[in-house]
């Protein structure tokens, strides 16, 4: 029991962070607008959760210009992928209990 709880990752223990990771797991990348629309959150709120995930090195941020407009792309890192898969596994095990 304790083992499974250990695998529950605190970094993902929030609805918005869970959402960001879910989107990035199945998309090569997503920009800020796509994340915002999918999750229905405010700019500030999304930015703070993105920052938290970046700090853990679960996601990577690339800044670039598209037609002279700044555009920020987010993608999941290898670490992030592994950690999120573990998290889902732990969730599934807990439900089956």
């Amino acid at each position: 029991m304790k083992n499974i709880i250990d695998n529950i990752n605190k970094a993902f223990d929030h609805r918005i962070r869970l959402g960001i990771m879910s989107i990035l797991m199945v998309n090569e990348y997503a920009d800020f607008k796509m994340l915002k629309e999918m999750l229905g959150v405010t700019d500030g709120n999304l930015a703070s959760h993105v920052k938290a995930l970046e700090k853990e090195e679960y996601i990577r941020i690339e800044k670039q210009f598209i037609e002279r407009k700044p555009n920020t792309r987010y993608s999941v890192t290898k670490n992030g992928k592994v950690a999120f898969e573990k998290h889902i596994e732990a969730l599934e095990k807990l439900i089956k209990k």
């Binding site: 609805r15 869970l18 959402g19 879910s22 989107i23 797991m25 199945v26 998309n27 090569e28 997503a30 796509m34 999918m38 999750l39 889902i88 969730l91 599934e92 807990l94 439900i95 209990k97």
Partner: protein, 218 residues
């Protein structure tokens, strides 16, 4: 003393139950967002099973055609060859139409767009190896190298799936790898191309579709 212990136990149990309800909500949310942001999961299951059945019917038709034809050789330009091409075309056509109908219906039910960024990316990445393969096979056929057609179809289709799998979760990648392996084995066993084709496009699709249906759509 006893009553406090029971009370304590009760509190523990109820918090645990609340937590596990939250975890269930988390999982549902993850599946939901993954589905909404990438279309392919909903494209799987049922359409995979149907694509497999179409392939089996198509193969049966081709088998019947070849069996009832002892005069003509199976080469490019012969009537029988054209019939088989038409047969193949119908299999592909019905598989794609079925996939589109099932996916649009599902997308509509969830109030989404079928044609969005993720489905575009998926399609483009799927088509690059597939069209390359199709053109290559046609070039080989036009120079009368038709021995490895079954193997080549399996390999290029497998590569297309692996390439598209970047935009999905689940087992598409493994389906692709299995098709590639099957194609390579098929290349080592000339003369059995037809049966490998039946296994790869018929049975593998049905097995894969049933697995996906069981896992995500039940």
């Amino acid at each position: 003393m006893r009553s406090t212990k029971i009370k304590h136990n009760f509190v523990f149990q109820s918090t645990f139950n609340m937590d596990s309800k939250d975890y269930l909500k988390d999982i549902t949310e993850i599946k939901n967002i993954m589905n909404r942001s990438s279309r392919f999961i909903s494209l799987s299951g049922l359409s995979g099973i149907l694509a497999g059945i179409y392939a089996l019917i198509g193969a049966a038709v081709a088998y019947y055609l070849v069996l009832n034809n002892d005069r003509e050789q199976l080469i490019l330009g012969s009537t029988i060859f054209n019939y088989i091409l038409i047969d193949l075309f119908f299999v592909a056509f019905f598989s794609i139409v079925t996939a589109i109908i099932i996916t649009t219906r599902k997308a509509k039910k969830n109030g989404e767009n079928f044609w969005d960024t993720s489905s575009k990316r998926l399609l483009i990445n799927f088509l690059i190896p597939l069209v390359t393969g199709a053109v290559y096979i046609l070039i080989k056929l036009s120079s009368h190298h038709h021995g490895l057609t079954g193997s080549l179809m399996l390999i290029f289709y497998g590569l297309a799936l692996v390439n598209a799998s970047k935009y999905t979760i689940g087992y598409i990648r493994y389906l692709g790898i299995t098709e590639i392996i099957l194609g390579l084995i098929c290349a080592m066993l000339p003369g059995y191309g037809f049966w490998f084709w039946v296994a790869g496009f018929g049975f593998l699709h049905i097995i894969y579709g049933a697995l996906m249906f069981y896992k995500y759509e039940r």
